[in-house]
Amino acid sequence: MSIALNAQGLSKSFNGIKAADGVSVSVADGEFVSLIGANGAGKTTFINMVTGYVRPDVGSITSYGREIVGLSPLQVTRLGIYRSFQIPQVFTGLTLMENLTVAINAVTAHERPLLSPRKAALNPDSRDRVDAVMERFQLGKYRDHLVSEISGGMRKLLDVGMATINSPKVLMLDEPTSGVASEEKFDFMDLVIEALSDQKAAVLFVEHDMDIVRRYADRIVVFHEGRVLADDRPDAALAQEDVRRYVTGKA
C-alpha cells in the first residue's frame, strides 16, 4: 500500500491559540480513518490545512509523495483530495441533478478546459455518472427539486455525493452524520461506505458518535488541544487511559 496522505509536524496558531501543535497523521490508500476529539480539539483545522483552506505555520503534508502545503483549495482538489463539510456546502439555487452535474463537470472541464458546451450538454457518460451517484445515495426521487426544498439530511448526502462523484484519492468528511437523525446514522454511513466500496480512496471522517466510529473505522486518530493523543485501532485507542479521560468522558 502507498501513502495517500502523510502529514508531519503540522502546527497552526490563531491569535496565539494553538489549533494544531505538532500534528502528524499518515493514511494509506483504502484505509478508513476516523478523527475524533472534543470541539476545538483541532480536527477541522487539520482538514482545513490538508485542503488548502488554512496554511500551517510549520510542517509538511504530502499526498502520494507530493508536497501540498501552499497549494490553493483548487489545486489540492485537482490532486484528488476532496472534502465534504460540516454544514453542507451545496448550490441551494440548483436542483440536485444540476448540483451533481456541476460537480462532475469540474473534472472534465479541468481535463479539457475549452470543452465544447454542446458536447458537455449531451455527454451521455457524465449523465450516467450523475444518475449512478443519485441512485447510490437514494436521491433519485428528488432529482429535479431545488436544494432549498430538501431536508438537511438529504443535503448532507448530496454534499458527500458531490465529494465522491469524481473518484477521489483522498476523501475528507467533516462530521458526515451531524444533522442526520440518530436512528438513520448507520443507514447513512452504510450508503457512504457502499458508494466508496469500488474505489480505493483513503477516507478520513470526523465523527462524534463512538458507535459509528467502532463500526466503520479501521483506525482512530484522537485529537486533544491541537495534539494527536492516540493513533491506533479503534478498540485500542478508545481503551487508552487519557483518551477515556479527555475525549470519550468515561474515565
Binding site: N48, Y53, I87
Partner: protein, 298 residues
C-alpha cells in the same frame, strides 16, 4: 522646480475637491454597505442649489458677503429634504438584498435625480461667479492662484477632521463606528440601527451637497458633473479602501497629484492615469490602502 510646485498645488486643490465628494460616499458605504451611485447626482444638486442662491442673477456685492453661509444653507436644505426621503421611502424597501441589487437601486435613483435636475434647472451651464473672488489671488513665485481654491483645501481638511473627531469623540460617533464594525451585533446590543442608517444617509447627502455647493464656483455647473464626480470619487474610495475616511484622504491626494502630473506631462492620459493608479494599488492591496480584507468563510 516651478513645474513641481505647479503639480503640488494643482494636485492638492484637485485632491481636496475629490476628498470632499468621496468622504460622504465612503462613510455611507462604511455604515450601510451601500455604494450610493446617486451620490454624484446629489453632489450636482448641491451645486445647483448654490447656483440658485448665489449664482448669476444675484447682485454680486450682496452675494459676496452672504455667499458662504447661503451655500451652507443650501446644502442643509438639500440634505434635510432629500436625505430622509430617499432613505425612508426608497432605500429602506430594499435592505437585506444583495449589495449589487442596492447598487442598481441607487443607480435608478441617480437616473431620476438627473432628470429632476434638468427639469428644475435646464440643461445649460450655470456659473457661480461671485464667491470665487472672495479670497482674492495668491502669488506663488511666478504663479498666481485664486484664493478660493485654497479655501476649498482648507474646507476639505476641516470636513475631514470634523467628521473623524465626531466619529471618535462623541457617543453618537462611537455608535456609528460600532455599526460600521458589525451591524448585527450592534442591533443585538440595543443600537437603533435603522436610525443610524437614517442619520448617516442624511449626513452623506449633506456632505455631497456641501461638496457640490462649495466647489461650484470652480467649475461650470452642468447636469453631467454628477457622473464625473461619482466615477472619480469611486476611484478615490477604492484606492483608500471602501469605508475608510483616512483612506479617502490618502486616495484623494494620490489621485490629485497623479492627475496634476499627467496634465503637465501627458494631458491626453488624464483619466487613464487615475485608473492606472487604482489598478496598481489594487494589484498589491485588493482591499485598498486602508481597507480591511474581506474574509471568505466556509
Amino acid at each position: 522646480m516651478d513645474v513641481f510646485l505647479t503639480i503640488l498645488v494643482d494636485g492638492t486643490i484637485y485632491g481636496a475637491w475629490l476628498f470632499l465628494i468621496a468622504i460622504g460616499l465612503t462613510l455611507v458605504f462604511g455604515v450601510m454597505k451601500i455604494l450610493n451611485v446617486a451620490h454624484g447626482a446629489l453632489y450636482a444638486i448641491g451645486a445647483y442649489a448654490a447656483a440658485t442662491l448665489v449664482g448669476g442673477n444675484v447682485i454680486e456685492e450682496v452675494a459676496g458677503f452672504w455667499a458662504l453661509p447661503l451655500m451652507l444653507l443650501g446644502s442643509i436644505l438639500v440634505a434635510v429634504i432629500l436625505g430622509p426621503f430617499l432613505e425612508k421611502f426608497v432605500l429602506r424597501l430594499f435592505y437585506g438584498r444583495d449589495e449589487v441589487v442596492l447598487l442598481l437601486v441607487t443607480f435608478g435613483v441617480s437616473l431620476i435625480l438627473e432628470d429632476v435636475i434638468r427639469m428644475i434647472w435646464g440643461v445649460f451651464s450655470q456659473y457661480v461667479a461671485a464667491p470665487y473672488s472672495l479670497f482674492g489671488n495668491v502669488e506663488m513665485g511666478p504663479l498666481y492662484y485664486v484664493g478660493y481654491d485654497f479655501f476649498v483645501v482648507a474646507l476639505a481638511v476641516l470636513v475631514g477632521v470634523a467628521t473623524s473627531l465626531f466619529l471618535s469623540r462623541t457617543i453618537m460617533g462611537k455608535i456609528v463606528l460600532a455599526v460600521i464594525h458589525d451591524a448585527e451585533i450592534s442591533r443585538a446590543m440595543g443600537v437603533n440601527v435603522s436610525r443610524v442608517y437614517l442619520y448617516t444617509f442624511t449626513f452623506g447627502v449633506f456632505l455631497a451637497a456641501v461638496a457640490g455647493a462649495f466647489t461650484s464656483p470652480m467649475l461650470a455647473v452642468t447636469p453631467s458633473i454628477g457622473v464625473n464626480a461619482i466615477i472619480l470619487s469611486f476611484a478615490v474610495v477604492v484606492i483608500g479602501g471602501m469605508g475608510s475616511i483616512g483612506g479617502a484622504a490618502v486616495g484623494a491626494a494620490l489621485v490629485g497629484l497623479s492627475r496634476a502630473t499627467a496634465i503637465n506631462f501627458w494631458p491626453e492620459a488624464e483619466l487613464f492615469v487615475i485608473y492606472a493608479v487604482m489598478a496598481a494599488v489594487l494589484l498589491f492591496r485588493p482591499q485598498g490602502l486602508f481597507g480591511e480584507p474581506a474574509q471568505r468563510r466556509i
